[in-house]
């Protein structure tokens, strides 16, 4: 192998792998520190996530959310943008899904109702991201700060709407009335018997197919279309892209809209798929989790599915851990997300100089 191939292997495989392992090792150290045997914990976790069919349902249900937000963060990353606003976009996406349902005739066929709610989620999520995108592109406001502000704005807006405007009459809980049941995305446990399979009840619904379809679509869009090329070119080298006739401003807005639309789909999985009404804080943590998923999945749809499955497993398995050990809660997953973002993101190149010196040293040139 010549040096260039070795460097490609180091950057493409060895480095990401080492980074993930470091994050895992740090988590294992934490388990030891809080007096939990990491191996036993891993066993419990895996049992909780895959040991019985209800657990499996939950695992894939969480995975679905992480796929949506992971894709959202990745599309923005490809355009060189850091979309921290997944939280707000997911929340507002849920609002869009719900409003679409409430505004249509309650007797409408599910074949129209559900696509309409999906469209509502994507439009609302996309619009919520378009604001920061526009401000970045045309007014030069930093996208990270504006998306953070938009997260808080989304949270206050939703509290206001759910408490004052959309609340179910006569109820104390800030949530809307139930969606009509033709706006319910079918549960997987209701579908499987048609194929002769049995499954316990779980929140897993057909959104997971939508998530996988979105992975394909994002892959096709980013690597097979002109717009996707323009997005990636802008992210790699904005100056070169502009020189090549690509409008950077337009690309920023388009990438943010797509990113927000994908994040908005969390509202479909959560509300149209499971809760069947708009509730408070259904989105919490998924927007930030998406950052970890995208970083770990190297911003590629295939990698994102794997990383989302990992975090879905941790989310569901984490609940099982909390049963067994009183000092663990699902927050352990939040810790892991933080560690993944730290080691796979911020400290991405920590091992690089060391690996290069060891595996691909610069050859001395003899004269």
């Amino acid at each position: 192998m010549n040096r260039d191939t070795r460097l490609a292997w180091i950057n493409g495989l060895l480095l990401p792998l080492l980074n993930v392992l470091t994050a895992f090792a740090a988590t294992a150290v934490l388990f030891v520190l809080i007096n939990v045997n990491p191996l036993e914990a891993a066993e419990t976790l895996l049992y909780g996530a895959f040991g019985y069919s209800e657990g499996i349902g939950y695992t894939f249900y969480y995975t679905t959310n992480f796929i949506f937000t992971g894709l959202a963060v990745a599309v923005a990353f490809h355009a060189g943008l850091f979309n921290i606003g997944g939280e707000g976009q997911a929340y507002i996406g849920g609002l869009g899904a719900g409003l679409a349902v409430f505004m249509l005739f309650p007797e409408l066929s599910p074949w129209l109702m559900i696509p309409a709610s999906i469209l509502g989620a994507m439009i609302f999520g996309g619009a919520w991201a378009a604001g920061p995108g526009y401000l970045q592109a045309y007014r030069g406001s930093h996208i990270v700060i504006t998306t953070i502000m938009f997260n808080f704005l989304a949270a206050t807006l939703m509290v206001y709407l759910l408490v004052k405007v959309l609340r179910e009459p006569g109820q104390m809980t800030p949530q809307t009335v139930l969606f009509p049941d033709n706006a319910w995305l079918p549960f997987v446990h209701d579908i499987l018997p048609a194929f002769g399979l049995e499954m316990e009840r779980s929140p897993l619904n057909l959104s997971i197919l939508l998530a996988l379809f979105m992975c394909l679509l994002v892959w096709f869009f980013l690597w097979q279309t002109r717009w996707g090329y323009a997005i990636r070119a802008t992210g790699r080298n904005a100056h070169a892209a502009v020189y090549g006739g690509i409008s950077q401003k337009k690309i920023i807005v388009v990438a943010m809209c797509i990113s927000g639309a994908l994040a908005g789909l969390v509202g479909i999985n959560e509300l149209v798929g499971y809760h069947h009404r708009i509730i408070m804080n259904f989105h919490l943590g998924y927007g930030f989790g998406g950052i970890a998923v995208a970083l770990m999945g190297r911003n590629h749809p295939f990698g994102i599915v794997i990383a989302a499955l990992l975090f879905g497993t941790l989310y569901q398995g984490g609940a099982e851990l909390a049963f067994e050990w009183s000092n663990i809660s699902r927050d352990i997953v939040v810790v892991m997300q933080g560690l993944v973002i730290l080691f796979c993101g911020a400290l991405e190149y920590m091992y690089k100089p060391w690996l290069v010196r060891w595996l691909a040293p610069v050859q001395e040139v003899r004269s």
């Binding site: 934490l30 809080i34 007096n35 850091f82 921290i84 401000l135 007014r139 030069g140 406001s141 930093h142 990270v144 700060i145 504006t146 953070i148 502000m149 938009f150 808080f152 704005l153 206050t156 807006l157 509290v159 206001y160 408490v163 004052k164 930030f288 950052i291 970890a292 970083l295 009183s326 000092n327 663990i328 809660s329 927050d331 352990i332 997953v333 939040v334 810790v335 892991m336 997300q337 933080g338 560690l339 973002i341 730290l342 993101g345 911020a346 400290l347 991405e348 190149y349 920590m350």
Partner: protein, 330 residues
Amino acid sequence: MSEITTLNEIWLTVLLTLDATIRLSTPLVLAAMAGLFSERSGVVDIGLEGKMLAACFASATVAHFTGSPWLALLAAVMISLSLSLVHGFATITHKGDQIVSGVALNILVSGLTIILGLTWFRQGGQTPPLSGDGRFFAIDLPGADMLHSVPLFGALYKELISGHNILVYAAFALVPVVWWALFHTRFGLRVRAVGENPKAVDTAGISVNGLRYRAVMIGGVLCGVAGTYIAIAHNAQFTRDMTAGAGYIALAALIFGKWRPFTVLMSCLLFGFLQAFAMRIEGVDLPVVGAIPVQIIEAVPYLLTVILLAGFIGKAIPPKAVGKPYVKER
């Protein structure tokens, strides 16, 4: 006679709202000054929130075990300082993305505080409420009671100026110190230079990384104080995510104050006032407008920051080299 009583009551309401403003602004001021140092040196600090939250947990824990607020403060500062060193290690030494590193710290801390809290206290992630010692208490300034009978000023002195804890006074005293350090010392000049044009600083033979590390560490110390204030002066225990976005509001205040100490102080007071005002008018029917939804007032700081960033009211120009890791040319 009754008119005077109503006037006095209105005056007292105003004073109490302003008093709440001071208490709510204190952590914002400390965190914003932390961010000011960091960003003036060219390092974006999204991690203010996480450092404060870690400091909250550390101070509440140490105060619970030792009963000493000063030891609690020390522990909080050490924890926050070490987190700022992690941020420095990632972004200065390894040229990692500053935003990603800050986000990582925020998320890490929000989970870790709960897990450690569960392990040590088994109270659902909280620390036990502090009773008696272990907290910073209000200090009555001399003459507060004596001057009480003086019309208007007496109440102002007693309610607004006197009766805060030492961290509040420290936070407000800090602002001129920061201003002096940044604009009237050699160190301050260098910090500002390294945030504008690190190459020039490097050419002059001064270590860019060294300066940035020092600025980031100062930020760590100040976030430690801010967290201590929130946990054991303003409150009496640690609760889940108790900073509740104060770090982000401080960041907004930093931008809104255009990275200048006194304007940043003013923005912190404004944002603190909005919070205090929102609390006071919750559920109150006001004349003419009726009941204003609290959420609208709570949203104002974020809206103002977005509008400012969009360049509609003045222009917020950040330090030129902020967010960019410095790579020495070879």
